[in-house]
């Protein structure tokens, strides 16, 4: 098997697995940059996956080939709405943000499986007929060598994810909103003194994280699993959280980390068909993202520090 063949298998597969992680990790970045820890990302992905699949099954006849995209919008909206619960608890009611995130995760699984049984009278949905499918991107796939590796047999969603990561970078670092977002996450009292509405910014950030997490779940379900059951989202949200940290709370870093974790995930699945990896137990690839994240936090791979006010509720007038 030539290097060319290997790359043209590994890279599209990496992009496929990375796309949901990129979206969700970006969501986490927005939330944590504003000072709200969101370990409910897993639950938000569950809600997104559930919404996308149900919407897809219900409206496949109406929207035709556009169905998966419209379903993604639905997943985004419902994910955003669901994250309001986390926002209310952790911003308005000053709940422990980690506990509230745990509640979001438990609630998302409970609600979505309850509704699946309510609607379909069984534990999992049917397989969707109109998922995201592999495409050769027009024009770009005709570029010699690069076209075959990067733009053939791939998914549009992966490219959308990368574009959104650059947009997120622009928003967080180049716009007034981004400056406010970061200041609220570093020193909310100073931001408040300067007339920034801390509560409003944090609400927006958490809702953005819900919307992006919802999209992440929607992509995962519509391109990888094609149905919804209790096992559809199993740890991708936490892996996205890891990607956010490994990327040092930076949108492009999160994207890079998500691509790398997507690479590890896809190798653990297709590795056995590649010549030089077939003898390596895939357990190493499976645990690589988590081990690397711990190492990054510890400082062995450049220390990663969270925004200063992350996890601390802001109470006006408190020093």
């Amino acid at each position: 098997m030539s290097l060319m063949d290997i790359l043209s298998i590994v890279i599209p597969s990496t992009m496929l697995w990375a796309a949901p992680l990129i979206f969700t990790a970006l969501g986490g970045t927005f939330s944590e940059r504003s000072g709200v820890v969101n370990i409910g990302l897993e639950g938000l992905m569950v809600i997104g996956a559930f919404t996308a699949i149900v919407f897809n099954l219900t409206f496949a006849d109406v929207f035709g080939d556009m169905t998966p995209w419209v379903s993604l919008v639905a997943a985004m909206v419902v994910g955003g709405l669901f994250s309001v619960i986390h926002a209310v608890a952790s911003i308005t009611f000053r709940a422990d943000q980690t506990v509230s995130g745990v509640a979001i995760n438990l609630l998302a699984v409970g609600v979505s499986l309850f509704l699946v049984k309510f609607m379909y009278d069984k534990g999992q949905t049917d397989i969707i007929q109109k998922g995201f499918s592999k495409v050769d991107i027009p024009i770009l796939s005709d570029i010699p060598i690069l076209g075959k590796i990067f733009f053939s047999n791939t998914y549009y969603t992966s490219y959308v994810a990368i574009i959104i990561a650059f947009i997120a970078w622009y928003v967080i670092f180049k716009t007034p909103f981004g400056l406010r977002l970061r200041s609220v996450g570093e020193h909310p009292m100073a931001a408040d003194t300067m007339g920034i509405n801390v509560t409003k910014i944090r609400y927006i950030a958490v809702i953005l994280s819900g919307a992006l997490g919802g999209i992440g779940g929607g992509i995962y379900a519509q391109s990888i699993t094609s149905d919804f059951s209790h096992a559809t989202i199993s740890g991708q949200g936490f892996m996205a959280l890891a990607a956010m940290i490994f990327g040092k709370w930076h949108p492009l870093g999160a994207m890079g980390a998500a691509l790398f974790f997507g690479f590890a995930q896809s190798l653990s699945i297709i590795g056995s068909s590649l010549p030089f990896l077939e003898n390596i137990p895939n357990v190493y690839l499976l645990i690589a993202p988590y081990v690397l994240t711990i190492l990054a936090l510890t400082g062995f791979i450049g220390r990663a520090d969270a925004p200063k006010a992350s996890g601390v509720p802001y109470i006006k007038g408190n020093r």
């Binding site: 209310v88 506990v99 309850f114 199993s234 988590y290």
Partner: protein
């Protein structure tokens, strides 16, 4: 109203609110809420068999709750109980299948191996927290997944010939009890509940009756003050995580040596570790509170399995109620304000 009264009323209100919202969900979706709750009760206590199953479920919940609660007392959030439970489960079964020894050596050895494995798994985040000030929440989450994949790998390659489960543990390492099973109409009730209750006593004793426990709590209240008073914050953080992990590992031993008697490849988590967070929160991190909360969640979980059969209501409704209870306890600020308002009106 005294803060002590509030500490009792908040969890009770949280449970009531959870049940009320659960009822509303059933009314909206057109399920028969009354029948659902009767089915839930019958499924948990309606028959001696179900009662046995409920106590069996309560056993790991108590231990997982102790694990989370103990770390909370030192100001640490051990969200890695799930991973520590998995390695404890694996270690217990490993000892259970590897040797054949007299029961009075083998069983304690297997149980202790589980505690040691859990403690080791929690030692790492404790050490990283103490040495490098790395937040324990993230590290323990990552350790959960490492535990899951490593345990699966060991089960597949070391403890079996590419099979998806290990052999059963030798009877000399089993917590199973024909006596308890006979007493409860052949439920899977085992001796683990005794271990769990002993651990409740141990937690109470360490925290309330030893100077080490006093230090652990002091560090939880105020790290700087403890440091100033001459306590070692670092060693207390590590110790707290290690003890917490040992409790979590024991919860794994309950499953490995009692309920199942083997370890198998898992696609995802058991959920016991995360439910342990709910148990500890609702129980206010106190030994008695944890027992009561574990009984509540254990009976909800076991009773729920009867809801689809008897009332046609999906058992996930109970998961929703548990999540809501966690949510309401977490957002207890809301409930406390509410109580204050009521209290003021009463005073007028």
């Amino acid at each position: 109203m005294s803060s002590r009264m509030k500490n009792i009323i908040v969890p009770i209100l949280a449970v009531l609110l959870g049940i009320i919202v659960g009822t509303i969900i059933m009314l909206i979706t057109g399920y028969d809420a009354g029948a659902a709750f009767i089915a839930l009760w019958d499924g948990a206590f309606g028959d001696i068999y179900y009662t046995g199953e409920t106590i069996r479920q309560v056993t790991p919940y108590i231990l997982a709750g102790l694990a989370v609660g103990f770390a909370f007392k030192t100001g640490l959030f051990n969200i890695g109980v799930e991973g520590q439970l998995i390695v404890g489960w694996l270690a217990a079964v490993w000892v259970g299948v590897a040797f054949e020894l007299p029961k009075f050596i083998h069983l304690p050895l297997a149980v202790l191996a589980a505690a040691a494995a859990g403690a080791l798994w929690a030692f790492i985040p404790g050490l990283l927290k103490a040495k490098f000030r790395v937040h324990e929440v993230i590290v323990t989450i990552m350790m959960n997944y490492i535990a899951l994949h490593v345990a699966n790998y060991i089960i597949r390659t070391v403890l079996s010939e590419k099979s998806d489960r290990t052999a059963d543990v030798f009877p000399s390492a089993s917590l199973r009890s024909p006596f308890l099973e006979g007493l409860t109409d052949y439920s899977r009730l085992h001796w683990g509940i005794i271990v769990a209750l002993i651990c409740v006593f141990i937690m109470w004793f360490i925290l309330e009756k030893t100077s080490r426990g006093y230090e652990l709590k002091a560090v939880g209240f105020n790290q700087h003050a403890s440091e100033y008073a001459g306590m070692s914050v670092k060693s207390n953080i590590i110790l707290s995580m290690v003890i917490s992990g040992a409790f979590a590992g024991l919860a794994g031993a309950m499953e490995g040596l009692g309920t199942f008697g083997y370890a198998s490849i898992r696609g995802g988590f058991t959920g016991v570790g995360f439910d342990g967070i709910a148990v500890a929160l609702l129980g206010g991190n106190t030994p008695i509170g944890i027992i009561l909360a574990a009984v509540l969640f254990g009976s909800l979980k076991v009773g729920a399995l009867n809801m689809p059969l008897e009332a046609g209501v999906p058992n996930e409704l109970v998961d929703i109620i548990i999540a809501l209870i966690v949510f309401f306890v977490a957002a207890s600020y809301m409930i406390r304000i509410f109580i204050d308002r009521i209290g003021k009106k009463g005073a007028k």
